[in-house]
Structures are given as C-alpha cells and as structure tokens.
Amino acid sequence: MSAQNPAARTLNIDFMKWRGVAVIASLVLSLLAIISLGWHGLNFAVDFTGGTVIEAKYADAPDLNEIRSNLEEVGFTSPTVQNFGTTRDVLIRLAPLDKESGEAGNALREKVVEALNKDPALKPEIHRMEFVGPQVGDDLVEGSVIALIASAFFIVLYVAWRFEYRFALGAILATLHDITMILGFFSLLQLDFDLTVFAAVLTIMGYSLNDTIVVFDRIRENFRKIRRADALDVINISINETLGRTLMTSFLTFLTAVAMAIWGGDVLHNFGLALVVGIFVGTYSSIYVATALAYKLGISRADMLVPEKEGATDVSP
C-alpha cells in the first residue's frame, strides 16, 4: 500500500466513452416500454380497476370451463377463471358489474358461492375474496398519480437544493427512465399490477436516486479536489471510485428483492420482481442517464466551487 495519486485508481473504466451507446440503448428501451404501455397498457389488478377477485381451493382439480359457465349462468359477464400454484387452486376475477356496490354486494357473494358450489362434490374453500367498488379504484389511481408526481417534485427540489439544478434534471430523468422501464416490463409481460407493485415503483424512485446521489456526491467532491482534469475525466474517476459501493449495495438489495420474489408467496412475488427490475435499471441509470445528462447540460468545476455547508468541505487534495 504505497501512496498514490488520487487520480490513479485500481479501477479505471472509461464509462463515459460508452455514453453514446448507452443513450441509444436507453432511448430504444424506453421507446419499447412506452409503445408496450400504449399498446397493451398495464394489467391493473382489482385495487385499481374495481371488481372482484376470489381465491378458492378445491379438494380435486376442478374443470375451469365448468366454473366459468356456472358463473356466466348466474349473470357474470366474461369471468376470468385460472389456476395458480396448483391445479386445485383457482383464481376467479369478475369485472365490476351493475348492482355490485353497497347492499347488492351482499347478493354478489352469495351468487358467487352458489355458482361455485353448484356441483356439491367439488365444494371449494374460499381463501380470499376481494371486492373493490369502482369509486375506490378510481380514487386509488388518482392518489397514486399524485404520489408519483409529488415524489418527483420533492426529489428535484431536494437535489437542486443540495447540489445543482443540472444534477436535479439528470436525477429526475434517471428516475423517470427507471419507472418507465419497470412499467414497460410489467406491461410487456402483462404481469398483475397491484398496489404493492406500485409501492415497489415508488420505492425504486427513492432507491435509484440514492445511487445517483452517491455518484453526484463524489463528482462534486472530485471537482473540488482534482484541479487539472476536465469534466469528463472527473466524472469517469468518480464513477470508478463509487463503482465498488454501487455494485455492492445494488447486489445486496437485489438479494433481498430476489428472496421476496422467489420465497415471498403470491403477494410479494410481483413486488419483488418490480424491485429486481428497478434495481438493475436504477444502477445502470445512475451511471449513464443521470451523469450523462448532467455532463451534457454542461456541469463544470465552476459550478462546484462554492463550498456547501455540510459534507465534503475538504477542498485540499
């Protein structure tokens, strides 16, 4: 361990050299995500659409078509009936229909149970039943959109206050990029998008930003420390210096997300999956999208020279 010049690192990858390729890749993927979202949309769960979901367990594998026709007979239009987990577990989805809210909801359950118990030999055990009124679903969509916008707004505000507006723009673009990717992923594979997945999306917003900020922090520090390098070099050095931490943290969070996606059961499966996707794109975007944009917008040493009141005030090399 001999004394080294701070600029000379064990790791020295020229990340910024590939930024052109990265920008194109990001644009293509984002476009794909947006097209898929426009085309298929998201497969919203009852939380957002309103309607009814029933999870039933049968003693023996039932005939799904029969369940479907039994449900149609009592007046449900186009019910979705599918297996999940085992062939004995059946998931039934009913669209919101007339007479479903309020008092009529009473009758709904009885009607469903009646339809399911039509063949007494196949009496199922109802594990879970959710009914969400159309109004509640609409309110949730509204609340979610507001939460997304508010998060984005406060994040920009915080980064602009802590760093600089160009960093804030880079950070928010990276964040939006990550969200687009997760939503695109869920749209492309038509995975259930429920409230827990939305919670994962918001979490990723904060998380991806966290990676970005660590890189920004180092860029600011290095701009003050390394006098003779140009902006591109400083950015490269900063990314290389923080790479160990970025990869390590992402990997560790990734491990917990994978644990939830694999071992967490149905409810946490999609939640974990959204996190896994988010962690991947979040790590990538904090290197390429955020910093590349900040660079493009012309971040330079002059912007960093005013020492902030907290943190890296150590200006001497």
Binding site: G102, N106, F131, V136, L209, N210, T242, M248, F251, L275
Partner: protein, 613 residues
C-alpha cells in the same frame, strides 16, 4: 485516540439497543387461543364471574391456561383451538345473553414483559384472516335528512307561534315557506331567525327561502361520519368480534376490520343495513287513495307487507334515533314474536303525548331500508339509491304509551331478533354503502406470515453471508448492526402498536438490503483510504467522517418516496410505508453509531493493527 466514543455515548447506545431488544421480544412468543367475555347492557365483570366460569368450564372438562380479568373483559386462555371452541360454546350457553362471547387470539407475552408495557405488534388482516370493509357515508342523504328535519321544525315553530303559513316545501337544498302576505312573512322571519341559527334566510314576494349555512353543512357531514362510526362500533360489539378496528378514513369513508370473522354475509347484513323505524299515525280522516297523486296534503301513501296501500300522516311521532334499547321476545297473549322498545326522554314524551290524544286510533310502524343499485348506462356507472319503506305493523293504541312498549306482528323470531339488533345499535345517521370488501381466510393468513418471514430470513442470511465474505471482521460488525436494526424496527413498531401486514414484512426485508448500504458506503470509503496509504486509524476515522454526508443524502431521498406512500391506499401498503420509513430512520442511527461503536471497540485501541476488511 480519535476512534473512541466518550463513555456516555457508549452507554447511551447500549441502553437503546437493550431497550430495543427487550421491547421487540413480545413478538416471538406467539398467541394463545382464547375466549373473551365483554359485558353487554349493564353486566359487571368481577371475581365472581371468574369463579363461576371456571366451574362451568371444569364441568365441561376443560382446563384453561389462565383467566385474566381486566376493566373491559375477561380473557380465558387455552392451550389449543379445540378447547377454545368448546369453551366458547359452553360460555355462550351460560352468559350469551349478558355478555358478548368472542373468540380471540391473545398474545402469549410473558408476565414480566407485560409489566413493563411491552406488547407485540398487531397483525393485519392479511396475516391473521378476517374481513375488511370500507364504507362510504352517503352525505347527500345526510344533508337531505337534516333539511327534512329543519322543514319539520319550521312547521312546528310557526304553528306554535300561531303564525299562518300556506306551505313548507323542501326543494333542491332550500326550504321554501309560502305566506299569505308580507306582514306575516316578516313576523315569521323574525321568529325563525331567532330560533334557527343554522339557516340563512332570503325573501322574495311572499316566499321565505331558507338555506343551511356552510358551517351547518360541514357540521352535519362531520356528525354523519362520527355518528356512523359510533353506530358501527355498537353493531360490531353485538357481533362479538375480538379487537375490531373501526375508524374514519378521509372525509366520508369508514373502515371496519373484523379479525377472525369468516361469515361475511351476516356481518354485512348487520353492518351495511341502514334500517330504521318510524312511528306514524294512520290517517283515518281521508279515504285511502289508489295512487300517490291523489294523496291528501299532510299524508303519505305507504304499502304494507302484502302490498296493500295504507295512508299515514306525514308527521313522524318518533324515529329510530330516539330508541335507547330494543330486545326481542315473545308477546305474552298471542305468543308471537315481538320487539320490546325503550325510548329516550324526548321520544318518550312525544310518544306519550301522541298516544294520550289518540287512544283507540291506529298507529303504524314503518320499516325503512336503504338499498343501492349501480347500473351502467352508456358506459357510465350510475348509482341509484333505492329506499324501501313498508308498514310492518298497525296496531290500535289501547293506552298511553310509557317509555317502554312493544311492537308485534313480525314475521318470526329471527326477524324480531334482527330488528331488535338494528334498533338497539341505533339507526345510522346517513346510509352507508360498502365500497370495498376483502376477506382473507385464516389458513391464507398463516401462509402469508410463513412466506413473509421465510423471505425475510433468506434475504437476511444472503446479505449477511455476502457481507461476511466481502468485509471480514467489518462484515461481522455490519451483520450485528443489521440485527440490531431489525430489533429496533420491531421495538418501535410494537411500541407504536402499529399493524404489521405482509407488505410491512416486505418493508423490513427491503430495509435490510437498504440499511446495509450505509455500512457499504463507510467500508468502501475506508478501503479507499487504505489504498491511498492512509494509516488504519485515520482510514477508519475518514471513512466514517466522509461517508456521512452521502449516507444522509441517500437516506433523505429514500425517505421522500417512502413518505409519499403514506398518502395513498390503506391497510397493507400503509404497513409497507410505515416499516420502510421507520427502517430508513433507524438504519441511519444503527449504521453510524452502532457500527462505529463496535469498530471502535475492536480497533480503537490498537495503533498499528491491520484491518480485516
């Protein structure tokens, strides 16, 4: 000696960690299946009850684990669910009429922990099974009712003050009172203004228009929700559910959670029905018309159960709001089902006055139930309210009614019981609609707990392994810190008596991955310093010092998103927001102070030590 905390700091950190560990302990003791008795209608809880029930249970061949008498309930713990169910049946048979007997899963927290106020977290419905309802209060109906009340009060006041009026009508949120001439209008306006502070008046030719003030409308909305919450609470108590949750959400919604309830049909029948009664005199002065257009002024046409028209006076004698108690039973003479009703003071007075003046005249009981129908018209969802009003009973007044009287002529004992229950728990101030319902079976709840904690343990172990291999001694320190962080989260959640949900467990799992980030930041910084040739002690110092600003920034940004989650949704996702937020905050403390303390303890004294990192 830079890498040393002053003694007080070490003691403070150790104290916090000890407290965190102790207060997180109750969550690991599981639950006892138990039966709880809570007094209904004036029954008392005392030691005699304990002795009695102990004897009764012994006769049934049951040996309870413990009896716990508190101010609100008697809790009897059992070793298994079979004993619990048999005991509940046995106790219901003896005490069913005086106490509410409910099944409960009581936390098996040891006595010494309970003495210091330590209690486990409350498990959400997705983890313990049960029913969740969200109800919307129909504000429009509440306001309409208030306006009708005002219209009636105006009529009474004008009559009492001997002021002649032509008509009082309610129309589109205003009440219009028509008078013969401007003089009487002026007189009436003065009287009404003095008496009715909740209304604003305006005049136009010979019509006085009254409108509720904004403050009054707000007050009515507030009361409508508050009264509904109270009423729902009473109804839930009647259902015999242990630890129900009834709370207001937003401006006009109420959440009701009934852990352990599986029979949603009955729960909904009781919670959702907005039935009330009205007592009115039968209009005997006019012939009963065949259709509504020919109804004489001051009367209203109803139908009885058989669909036969009945003409009743518009004036209501007493409504369901004035009923204090109602019980079902059998009528002595005929032996048919009857409901015995007790009225409050003003109700009883009014009833007494009316019945005194109307002996030998018929009085009707009108049963009013509110229903909802949502239809799709041209892609738009339109909800229409439907009110079913029927005359369930007409009886001739034999004598002046006292506070207590009975209604007979019901369809059977079941109906009498349900009606009594509805009346007892009070009429809802405004109709409520169930807008969301979730039912989770108990086995699914157990499965959710199992999977939730399994993913947590696996996630934690994976993280711990990687940290151990990558950072050696420092990895051990980080893992201990993580463990303390989890204990701290559990302790805070328990102390807050927060509700743990499956996404809540996910929040804790995720926090493990995110909290360790602070350690990674510090360690990578230390490694970097070492690579730059800094001495171990300075490297440790610089690592903690320089990483702090970054840790702070990254925590704040994570926090922003986590807090935004509070704003949306209810139940499970809120649980995620809570655990994540607490986890982020506690990890800031543990990563900086606990890690530092342990690193100081290991390396702080050794000058030339080689760091195992």
């Amino acid at each position: 000696m830079r890498n040393q905390f002053p003694l007080w700091k070490n003691i403070l950190i150790l104290l916090i960690l000890t407290l965190a560990t102790i207060y997180s302990l109750p969550n690991f003791f599981g639950e006892d299946p138990s039966v709880q008795l809570s007094p209904a209608r004036g029954s008392v809880l005392d030691q005699a009850l304990v002795t009695q029930s102990e004897k009764a249970l012994a006769e049934a061949g049951l040996k309870p684990k413990a009896f716990e008498l508190s101010e609100k309930r008697l809790l009897v713990r059992f070793a298994d669910t079979d004993a619990q169910l048999t005991a509940a049946d046995a106790l219901k048979a003896i005490y069913g009429d005086r106490y509410t007997v409910a099944l409960n899963l009581a936390p098996a927290t040891p006595g010494w922990l309970r003495k210091i106020g330590a209690a486990p977290m409350y498990l959400g419905l997705d983890l313990r099974g049960g029913v969740h309802f969200m109800m919307q209060v129909d504000m429009e109906a509440a306001i309409k009712q208030a306006e009708e009340r005002y219209a009636e009060d105006i009529r009474t006041l004008l009559r009492d003050s001997k002021i002649q009026y032509l008509s009082v009508d309610r129309d589109n949120h205003v009440i219009k009172v028509k008078f013969q001439d401007a003089a009487t209008l002026g007189q009436a306006e003065n009287t009404l203004k003095r008496e009715m502070r909740g209304l604003v008046f305006s005049e136009e030719s010979n019509t006085l228009t009254a409108r509720m003030t904004d403050a009054e409308v707000r007050e009515i909305r507030r009361l409508a929700v508050a009264q509904n919450v109270t009423t729902l609470r009473n109804r839930v108590n009647e259902l015999g559910v242990a630890e129900p949750v009834i709370q207001q959400q937003g401006e006009d919604r109420i959440v009701v959670q009934l852990p352990g309830v599986q029979d949603t049909a009955r729960a909904k029948e009781i919670l959702g029905a907005t039935a009330t009664l009205e007592f009115r005199m039968v209009d005997t002065e006019h012939p009963t018309p065949t259709d509504e257009t020919k109804t004489p002024i001051g009367s209203k046409l109803y139908k009885d159960r058989q669909g036969k028209p009945v003409l009743l006076q518009r004036k209501i004698i007493v409504t369901g709001n004035q009923i204090i108690d109602a019980s079902s039973g059998l009528e002595q003479q005929s032996g048919s089902a009857a409901v015995f009703i007790t009225l409050n003071g003003p109700g009883a007075r009014k009833m007494a006055d009316t019945t005194k003046e109307n002996i030998n005249k018929p009085m009707a009981v009108v049963y009013i139930e509110n229903k909802n129908e949502t239809r799709e018209i041209g892609g738009q969802k339109v909800t229409t309210k439907k009110t079913v009003e029927e005359v369930i009973n007409i009886a001739t007044i034999r004598d002046r009614f006292s506070k207590r009287f009975q209604i007979s002529g019901l369809d059977g004992t079941d109906e009498a019981r349900n009606l009594a229950l509805l009346l007892r728990s009070g009429a809802l101030a405004a109709p409520v609609d169930i807008v969301e319902e979730r039912t989770v079976g108990p086995s699914l709840g157990k499965e959710n707990i199992r999977q939730g904690w399994r993913s947590f343990i696996i996630g934690f172990c994976l993280v711990a392994l990687v940290m151990l291999f990558h950072y050696k001694v420092f990895g051990v320190v980080a893992n201990l810190t993580l463990l303390f962080n989890v204990a701290l989260i559990l302790a805070i959640l328990s102390a807050m008596q927060a509700t743990l949900t499956l996404p809540g467990i996910a929040g804790i799992t995720l926090t493990v991955g995110m909290a360790v980030d602070a350690n990674v930041l510090i360690y990578e910084r230390i490694k970097e310093e070492l690579r730059n040739g800094t001495s171990p002690q300075s490297a440790i110092y610089a690592g903690f010092d320089r990483a702090f600003a970054t840790i702070w920034d990254s925590h704040v940004t994570n926090l922003i998103a986590a807090i935004m989650l509070f704003g949306i949704g209810s139940g499970p996702v809120k649980g995620f927001a809570v655990t994540l937020t607490i986890g982020i905050i506690t990890s800031l403390f543990t990563a900086v102070s606990c890690t530092r303390m342990m690193v100081n303890f290991i390396y702080g004294q050794r000058r030339g030590a080689k760091l195992w990192i």
